[in-house]
């Protein structure tokens, strides 16, 4: 337990809690106290000293209030080519007046719907940050997709963040999708200025049977931001869930992704790109739990690390005894562009079933100098050649992104970064 941090910052946060969800918050508090912040040597946070970072970053022990967001800010944040539903948030608080909707989706504040079984998917007793969020979230959002509705338009969750120095932002999102429904979400978080803050976000997604859900997350917050994000989803039979995690900046970012495959013929896809420079530290912990036979998981994370950036990848695959005929694939590839960049990558497979196909691989390398010379020898300047090669490296993940406007946005961002900085 981090004795320095915990009493001050937690008691500050716990002092003023909203009135809604009283018992849920109480349970969150208790679970947080029971677990405490991860210690320095805690296996799960071995390479990501989050408690230490919070000690120095959190100087204001209160939750950030929502700030006023203008229509212009929304307009300029919605990227070119995007045609879909826009849900706007300010420091985790949903702003219905700036948001749009479409038939088949129902969106409500969590405070208007206290029956929401928050915490039933992302469990407070298993994760101190989930517990902390459960105790302190200001309000959140409840999104429900109607049964048999295929929402063809993408749903953009625009998360504007702006806090007083060292405050905490605790977004909470609950999504449920009726049987035979389909929807695709884009979670785009943006800092409105360069002030440091701590985001502790929890997303729970409860899919019905035969659903097809996609959750993209694009993280591009300022380089002083500390984040812990939990996305936990229950995937029922005959369903598919795809997560795409793109991280471009931040000071220390920890993404905890958990996919529970709770039925046969279900598929979980986990894709990610982290393109890091400066001193950005990004830790992707993924966890897929195969509990039924004939299910599949595919995982591909690619990292490009420059300067003194640091990446951590930890991919857990559980295959329970009942989960025969499981197909599980995992791959993590990294390119280090500087001698000071670090990647710690670790596959972690626990397999109790005996008739399964599981494969995993991780690579760490440098830019292929031979390939670089080949391109230069054809007249392409070194920076463009480097960009071409790195972009091609990331391309395998990019092409998994079906939403074209988002793919174009990320492509542009990556190209800008590779062309100028690298």
């Amino acid at each position: 337990m981090s004795t320095l941090t915990q009493p001050t910052f937690v008691s500050g946060l716990f002092e003023v809690l909203p009135n809604n969800f009283p018992s849920l918050r109480q349970m969150g508090k208790e679970n947080f106290y029971a677990q405490g912040l991860p210690e320095l040597k805690a296996e799960e946070y071995k390479f990501t000293p989050i408690a230490k970072k919070l000690e120095t970053s959190l100087t204001n022990f209160s939750s950030a209030n929502p700030v006023i967001i203008s229509e212009e800010q929304v307009k300029s944040a919605v990227f070119a080519g995007f045609d879909g539903v826009v849900l706007v948030f300010s420091n985790g608080q949903y702003l219905p007046e700036l948001s749009t909707s479409v038939e088949g989706i129902s969106v409500r504040l969590l405070s208007e719907n206290e029956a929401t079984p928050l915490g039933s998917i992302a469990k407070a007793e298993k994760d101190p940050f989930v517990a902390l969020n459960q105790a302190t979230f200001t309000d959140g959002i409840f999104i429900s997709i109607e049964k048999k509705k295929e929402i063809t338009l993408p749903i953009l969750l625009l998360q504007f963040h702006q806090a007083n120095e060292g405050q905490v932002i605790s977004p909470r999102i609950w999504i449920e999708a009726g049987d035979f429904s389909k929807a695709s979400f884009i979670d785009y978080s943006i800092s409105l200025d360069d002030t440091p803050y701590f985001v502790n976000k929890v997303i729970e997604i409860k899919g019905g049977i035969h659903t097809d859900l996609t959750y993209h997350s694009l993280q591009e917050e300022n380089n002083q931001v500390v984040q812990v994000n939990a996305l936990v989803t229950d995937i029922q039979q005959d369903s598919q869930f795809t997560s795409t995690q793109i991280t471009l900046s931040g000071e220390m970012v920890r993404n905890n992704l958990t996919l529970n495959l709770l039925g046969s013929n279900s598929t979980g896809n986990m894709f990610g790109i982290y393109l890091l420079n400066g001193k950005t530290h990004v830790d992707n912990h993924t966890n897929v739990d195969h509990t039924f036979p004939h299910a599949e998981s595919n995982e591909l994370y690619k990292g490009i690390l420059a300067d003194q950036s640091r990446g951590v990848f930890n991919g857990k695959i559980f295959v329970r005894q009942a989960a025969q005929k499981t197909n599980a694939f995992q791959q993590n590839n990294n390119i280090l562009l500087s001698e000071d960049a670090i990647i710690n990558t670790k596959p972690q497979l626990e397999i109790w079933a005996d008739d399964v196909k599981c494969s995993h691989g991780c690579t760490v390398g440098q830019l292929d100098e031979e390939a670089l010379f080949y391109l230069q020898a054809r007249g392409i300047d070194k920076i463009t050649a480097r960009g071409l090669l790195l972009y091609a490296f990331a391309g395998e993940v990019l092409e998994k992104i079906e939403e074209e406007s988002l793919r174009n946005l990320i492509t542009t961002k990556i190209q800008e970064r590779l062309g100028s900085k690298f």
């Binding site: 292929d368 020898a377 054809r378 392409i380 972009y391």
Partner: protein
């Protein structure tokens, strides 16, 4: 066009080229032959600007410019083209995309407008015919999964697209069957002109039946030890390299 004077180069401290002198004029084809390890490919690499090699002495003038002062990309833009002995596979980058980037950078350097997609494609079609290469191949990742022959044809195709002044073919014949050799050589021959020159680096005389050289040079231990006409290549084909080695080694000991 190209003037190499007393060129010395080494890799990781080991000298490979020990004083090369060579003059190449527009319209000429020069063959560089020699036993394995004589420095043939090193010469090609040094001219193209590969960084592992350190030039320790000498100079290279290309159309009046100090070639060794230029970056690899600027050498290419000035008109030097190296057809690689082992073309690199680059997953995720299509030949088409890569060549368009390359061609437009070369054009920009030469003060020409970039080619739009339509013009680029029609130029591509024209040049594809030269080396009998299929468009499907070009939309795939660069050289990835290409056969040896396809890779070499792709090299000559790139050469056709970039229209170099000086083409250096580094062991372009290695690993080619007779049909592929014929196609590749035809491509090279069609691209030759009074204004361009070609350096053919090869171990075997066979290629020179198709690409007929004006001059043949034998490289041994990092120096050109013998120069002649195409008859020299035939003599080497018949007698091997040993007699040259003996000749050189005996004079060296005297």
């Amino acid at each position: 066009m190209l003037s190499i004077k007393n060129l010395h180069a080494s890799i990781e401290g080991t000298p490979i080229l020990r004083g090369i002198n060579l003059e190449v004029k527009a319209g000429e084809v020069h063959a560089i032959m020699g036993p394995n390890g004589s420095g043939k490919s090193t010469l090609a690499s040094v001219l193209a600007g590969r960084e592992e090699y350190e030039v320790t002495e000498g100079e290279v003038l290309f159309q009046g410019k100090e070639l060794l002062e230029l970056s690899p990309e600027d050498r290419a833009r000035e008109g030097v083209f190296l057809a690689f002995q082992y073309p690199i596979e680059i997953p995720g980058v299509s030949t088409t995309n890569f060549l368009r980037t390359a061609l437009n950078q070369v054009r920009e350097y030469r003060g020409l407008e970039p080619l739009d997609a339509v013009k680029f494609l029609s130029l591509m079609k024209e040049k594809m015919a030269l080396v009998e290469i299929d468009q499907k191949l070009l939309s795939r990742s660069l050289n990835e999964g290409f056969s040896g022959g396809e890779k070499k044809r792709n090299e000559i195709f790139q050469m056709a697209m970039l229209e170099p002044v000086l083409s250096i073919l580094d062991e372009t014949d290695s690993g080619l069957d007779i049909d592929a050799l014929r196609i590749v050589s035809n491509g090279v021959n069609k691209l030759k002109s009074e204004k361009t020159a070609t350096i053919v680096v090869t171990h075997y005389q066979r290629l020179l039946d198709y690409i007929v050289p004006d001059f043949v040079h034998v490289l041994y231990k990092g120096r050109i030890v013998k120069s002649g006409t195409k008859e020299l290549a035939l003599e080497l084909e018949e007698k091997g390299y040993d007699w040259i080695k003996e000749e050189v080694d005996s004079t060296a000991t005297v």
